[in-house]
Amino acid sequence: MGEKNKRTGQNDYMADAFAEPQVPDGLFWKCEKCGEIIYSEDIVANYHICPNCQSYFRVPPRARISMVADKGSFTEWDTGLPVSDPLRFPGYLEKLERMREITGVDEAVVTGFVRIDGMPAAMGVMASSFMMGSMGEIVGEKLTRMIERATRERLPVVIFCCSGGARMQEGIVSLMQMAKTAGALKRHSDAGLYYLSVLTDPTTGGVVASFAMLGDTILAEPGALIGFAGPRVIEQTIGQKLPDGFQRAEFLLEHGFVDKIVRRDRLRKTLSFLIEANGGVKPQEMYTTRQHNSGAAQKAVEID
């Protein structure tokens, strides 16, 4: 990271952070980290982790949902909200149209209802491939509607964060989404409901300075870049290179800003345990089965 974009000017840190691509729909895929050529299928089957060097690839929303949700349990909410272009920024509407075609999602976040181990939740998953996961009015609106609905229907909220920050093309309107989502989460919390935030690579800027850091529990994926200011901006401010590992998930854990780093193969179980512990409701029949089997439950103590 850091040196790839020689042409970049100041503040171009986000393009840099997003230089690592996702697994494309091709038969083969070359891992950027270790150079190994791998079957795309094998990567998808392995939680989008390189089977050779274990490095994490970015996960598109649909794949993320199937990674944690009970099969067929996801119902999408609030698609096709009307686009706003408050600055009438040249080329912005066309760019949005193009992004929709390329990514197959209607904006940089997908929201909806899921069940995780039978427990209902409202879940939002950000799409790094959609304009760097940046937050404009629609991203803020979809998340706020989801949080408000979760408050009304007494559901826990899970958000998978991944964002370069605010959507520059929407100017001040994008800034206001920070206050809007934070306000909705406060009401959700005051209603006694649980919010679980999962920080994935990269989570930066206005998203870090709003809903990403407001979870009752904050999880992070290994190695994820997480920070308010991008590494390049900081390097410009202090006039020196940042040490290795700065603003990575492990660094945030060490400094007390995340609860736990979670591996993808443990993600689903971790989510279901935390949701259940924090007011999650299991469906009756599953509850009965579990009670019945409780004697045989496996002991699991996680200290890491």
Binding site: G9, F89, I172, M178, F228, F257
Partner: protein, 300 residues
Amino acid sequence: MEDLTAWERVKRARGGERPTSIDYISGIFDRFMELHGDRACRDDGAIVGGIAQIDGIMVTVIGEQKGRTMKQNLKRNFGMPNPEGYRKALRLMKQAEKFGRPIVCFVDTPGAFCGMEAEERGQGEAIARNLYEMSALKVPVLSILIGEGGSGGALALAVANEVWMLENATYSILSPEGFASILWKDGKRADEAAEVMKITAGDLKNLCMVERVFAENIEREESEISLTDEETEAAAQLEEYKSDTEQENTEQERSSVLTRDNMQLLADELRAGILEFLRIYHGKTPTQIVEERYQRFRKF
């Protein structure tokens, strides 16, 4: 209002002579006692906060503070708060809520500080926490943008019931330089970016981002209204005479720039505005105050 380009206003907003939060605090309030520290890390000089009295009413006042000299800026960090600054602000705001004091914030920052220690101490978390807690404060909050309103660092003191702006203050998602650099790969097109970004008081009023805009050059505008015909004629003659001499012209231009020395009329107007705000909100219940603030941001 003066006829300036957006970029000219950006330069005014950043101007070294421009009054700072402390100048407004002393110009507006009858008493002020500064209170320090976030109770966790240190006292951040980029934010001043405390309790003030205005016409017998106690309020909590918080402002982002720039320095004028290099020495002052070492203390004030050029008005760029660290996480402990936002945490101090939140501590004082929660205390205001506990004792039922309305809150007045002065916003003036290029942005939250982008340094290593700021990241280590959770700059993002600190800003997020302010947005979260401010959204539910049971006392009225008024935020006044007096200079630069730099992104999340400004918003962290502006989740208010009303947001007001001075004529040449700005409020933006990032600096015009940064905007031009990211979207056009050319930081030198900042003047052009400033026009496109809608960051001036007039633009933001049209976007319903602010409730009130205050003219900075009150003296001249006031005189246009209150002068008698005779006086107007005399003034016109004087203007004519002035425009004949270049030197006088520069002086006139300079006198239209807001400074500590010519800010008192503006401070008086702000004082009257704040008193009016306090009077209106005095009649509202805490539930109403919280709901109105929530809806103010919900509509964006």
